[in-house]
Amino acid sequence: MPSTLLRGGRKAAVTAVAGLMLAAAPAHAADEIRVGLISGGCVGCHGSEGGGGHGIPNIARTMTRAEFVATMKAFRENKNNPTVMNRIARGYTDEEFALMAIRWAKPE
């Protein structure tokens, strides 16, 4: 299902995503499931609540949404001494980073 999120680039996307979180409005139920699906991949290493462990960073509410998305984009460019995150980040779209941010970043 093509989401309307993030059509207008990152800034608009982050705003749209922020709106999504506040709303329990009907139109967004499908997007909430997508948040669960996309962030479901992160859970495999960072844990159910994103707390990390064994050197894997805690990603639960440690960043703002904008910071989260910026961090993922930096990984794409091999920044911040990555081991696996660079290879992972290159597989996801900006919109998907914004969906992950809804699950993991500080509530806005």
Binding site: L37, C45, H46, G53, H54, I56, T83, G91
Partner: protein
Amino acid sequence: MRLGLSRRTLLASAAAAPVSLAAPRVLAQGRMKLVIIGGGFGGASAARFARDTFPDVEVTLIERSRTFTTCPYGNLVLGGMRRIEDITFTYDGLARRGVRVVHDEAVAVDASAKTVRLRNGSPVAYDRLIMSPGIDLRWGAIEGYTEDAAERMPHGWAPYVQPITVLERQLRAMPDGGVFVMAIPDNPFRCPPGPYERISMVAHYFKQAKPRAKILALDAKNGFSKQPLFQEAWEELYPGMIEWRGASNDGRVVRVEPAAMTLRTEFGDTVKADVANVIPPQMAGRIARDAGLANQTGWCPVKPQTFESALVPGIHVIGDASIAAPMPKSGFVASTHAKQAVAAAVALHRGQTPPDPVYFNTCYSHVGTDYGISIVGVFRAQGDRFIEVPNSGGISPRNATMSRERKEEQRRLEAYYADGWYEALTRHMFGLG
């Protein structure tokens, strides 16, 4: 079945607090019945995700065994880095979260009546069925390799058929200076890097306990997962101990004689082993084949968007049993099949469009102490195929691309992260955290 606004609001808040919220009684009659066969990497992950995401869906997990021993980290048991208890789990965590766990064997599926018949209990009705039965071994595909032969020449490739401790005991009893021979199958098979992690972990054990022992790997392929990384590491950590022979170098084992402890190769070589680990060709677990979900390959074709069977509607086949190349048959990727299959099954049951999938794999291999390597892949559906996202994923960097310090740091961190990976994934799928 129509969703009222209040129900959607409930769904939304339930997503934020998945564990504590149960759907109210009034919805009980209309609750969708989602049934899952197999409580391994695919099935347990599906149960957890369904319970967290869809509080108004009734989730039943059918698993024949009361405990689950993971294949991942089984090689570390051989290496002496873990005990079998450390890698064995129960289903109590999932049951506590509201999954109805039925310990019984599914023996037949009636896809038109939508019921699963059990060996002991009464039949279970479903609206949608998810199957993650794992693999069966093809006895006889290597001549002489029968269930009996596997006692002498263990596979250690499916814990519900044979615990890894059978092979572990043989390795411990092997004399120093002995030869450990592995027979490795052609693609597709469970866990492409698994045999090579096993070589590494056995070498790790030999280096300490039996330094004169040798490892001979006879492979039915000409190349393997993370090959350059493994081979560089073997030279570095275990020089002179490991010989790997590919198919074109007469590596394919076609026959075994367990009484004599010999293995015959395609072009007629006979190899004598002190301990032999024969990993035979594989196929989808029996219940999937019996239900008509497998094609002539023995594996199950699925629709890439939903993991619904391409052959029988209403049943989703995930994990190792499915045909999902270029995705590997791994536990991690099975957990992402699981989540997509659950979301798709619920959407289809409700007449909605399933979400677009992203499948994701991260597999670490331990090669030695503080020495880990990995392969990553992100995959999507494109028409009737799965594709790997171009320019993403791949293996850890080669030695030569890094400074010595950085290389040591990279390998050390990946070994450390592997332990975190294992803990996070197993705690999640078994509902422990």
